[in-house]
Amino acid sequence: MNKFLRSSAFTLAFGYVAFGIAALILFAAPLWYAYYVTLQDARREGLRTDAQRLSEIFRRQGVSGLSTYIDNRVGMQIPGERILLLADSTLHPMSGNLPEWPASVPPAPGEYDLPIQLSGNDTRAMFVENVLPGNYHLLVGRDQALFAPLAARFWFGLGAAIAVLSIAGVFGGLMIRRAVLVRVDGIHHTVQAIVRGDWSHRLPMKAGSDELNTLSMTINAMLDQIEQLLHGVRDVSNSIAHDLRTPLAELRSRLEELSLTRPEAEETFAEIDGAVVDVDRVIRIFNALLRLAEIDTGMRRSGFVPVNAADVARQAVDFYLPAAELKGVTLSYRGSGPAHISGDPVLLAQAIGNLIDNALKYTNAGGAITVEVRELSDNRIQITVADDGPGIPDAEKPKVSARFYRGDASRGTPGVGLGLTLVASVAKVHGGVLELGDNNPGLRATMIISAHTAGVLPPVVATAGTAGALQSPVAAAGTASASAAGVEDAGAAGGKAVAECKAVVVEGKAVVVEGKVAADAHAADHNLRMRSVS
């Protein structure tokens, strides 16, 4: 009950009841007043008439005649009879139904409404007093107590109305509480659960589209968004822990070793250069993570401008063309005219670039990569990067797709894991998705984005057939070799040649390849991709 008293439903019901009662009283009070005044006037008028008639009798028949008339009338004992009294000049009663002149009534003609004592009871009476010739006092009055039941009935009526109103109010309050506040309680419990850290909860929704449902829907969408951001933050923390610890550990041991062994100057400088490479690697990972976080917060949508996605894709193809030629891969653009969207050209370029870069890593010499931008009929743009590399075996797909999902995926490297994660984020911020499918053979990565981004962001969708991190070891070795060999020759280096490679500097640029291509193809492969920073 205490809870009920504090609930807003009670406050609401109480307020309505109080308002109803006030209105009722405001309505009834003038009514009662008018009624009361009219009644009193009518009574007074009756008394006056009576007194006049008696005075008339006095004038015609004298004091004895009036006296007899009064005695006769009193003797008839009519119920509700008036108070009648004829007194002489000393106020000594001569006839009537009062034993003596009431002490409270003054001996002067007039109309009075006074408290008196009638047969021992305190009451109130209305009097009309006439003074007749010969200084006789005639008193005609009426006991007001006779009207008390009428007033009582009125007050009872008012009281009953108030009671009904109150009960209806409380009952109504309970009904409102049941209908509405139970749902508010539901929301309350859900939110409490979320505050405790259980993000699986969502606000209960009912059929229909009332205000509470609409509100719940909006809040649920907000919670989805917050949860994703939260995942993003967690992923970033995980990635930092996982990806940064390795190069930091390496850097630390390098410096510590340097400090302990104090080698020759030449070796010391080489080690310092190596340390700078380590730091650069950390910075690179860090920048990629920060950028991802920046995109994920949706901040970049403030930078949306009209942009032709086809131009962006064509430029990206041009940019990667020499790298593809070097590897002996055909890279071509296929498009059907402009594709105008509202978006961020820098992010789009980076996303398409990442997809091409990824395809390039997994396509062998003689292969082909096709970039295509198409306008779909439903006001969406489809950007596809397809390669004919080894693709992913069907058995691996669920695993890969799970890995790619933003829990583990960001454990990848700026090279791959974060690369594709970034593509997914870019697609998301453009109100779209990244889908990874089969190109038979090869991988077919498709970004489907809406031409005009607006409204609530859809959740990231990772479809089956995700490219992800795992491809064949040959391809991975190819990646490493391509990076290590740098601009000189990519295609020639075989799988094993770079399997144990640790850190190579090509033209002042770090190519760090770490890990083992060995019996455990998948693990090693993934490992390799994770560590490869070029």
Binding site: N287, G303, Q315, Y320, A323, A349, G419, G486, V487, E507
Partner: protein, 226 residues
């Protein structure tokens, strides 16, 4: 060139000042906003390096805005740990000419300072560029080495034009990405190197003197000097 460094971190200051001096430049230094503001307004500098978050009430961007309002057109490079694109835009809008995120490589900083310094000096409209016997006509968009005509793709021409405009200066990969391709992100792979090596093959035949050099830990430099 004469450089003013406004930076409160001692180690970064030492690193930059020493580097600049070794490269043959004069470097002044202020470790708070007020001194920085005073020096920038009273002394003629070729380039100013401005940190964004400074002690002493005045923040880097406020100094830049104040300098620009008073008509000071000295090129300013903003040095900041704030890497968001929005922050970058804010910095350039306030009147900065370039934006470099901490942590940075000294080579990158020096190359950018050089570029800023040159931008002011050689800002006239040119119709042709020449480095040694390498010649580029900006109107007909044709390139030649001596009498040998060089066929270039539009993108290669743009890359060569940028290198020639900055002849004798180190240009970093990031500078090339930003200015030739307008890519303000890290493409992860060494695509820029591939572009450069392809261009190098075209402008340097076996018998010709090399012009396009690789500068270790920094980038590239196009120069006719030995």
């Amino acid at each position: 060139m004469k450089v003013l460094l406004v930076e409160d971190n001692e180690r970064v200051t030492r690193f930059v000042v020493k580097g600049l001096q070794e490269a043959g430049h004069v470097a002044d230094h202020a470790d708070n906003g007020r001194d920085g503001m005073f020096l920038a307004a009273s002394e003629p500098y070729d380039v100013i390096i401005m940190d964004r978050m400074l002690p002493g009430q005045i923040d880097g961007l406020a100094i830049i805005e104040a300098l620009r309002k008073s008509g000071n057109r000295t090129p300013i490079l903003i040095l900041s740990a704030l890497s968001d694109v929005d922050e970058r835009i804010k910095g350039l809008k306030s009147g900065g000419d370039d934006y470099l995120t901490k942590p940075f490589a000294f080579g990158e900083l020096l190359a950018r300072l050089d570029a800023l310094n040159r931008r002011i000096q050689g800002s006239g409209t040119q119709t042709s560029l020449r480095v040694g016997d390498l010649h580029v006509d900006l109107l007909s968009r044709k390139a030649a080495r001596g009498t040998r005509a060089i066929a270039l793709q539009p993108q290669e021409f743009k890359l060569l034009e940028y290198l020639m405009r900055h002849a004798g200066q180190v240009v970093t990969r990031t500078m090339l990405l930003e200015n030739v391709w307008d890519y303000h992100f890290d493409p992860q792979t060494n695509v820029v190197d591939v572009h450069i090596s392809k261009l190098r093959q075209k402008i340097e035949s076996d018998s010709e003197r090399p012009l396009l050099r690789t500068v270790r830990n920094a980038g590239y430099m196009l120069t006719a000097d030995e």
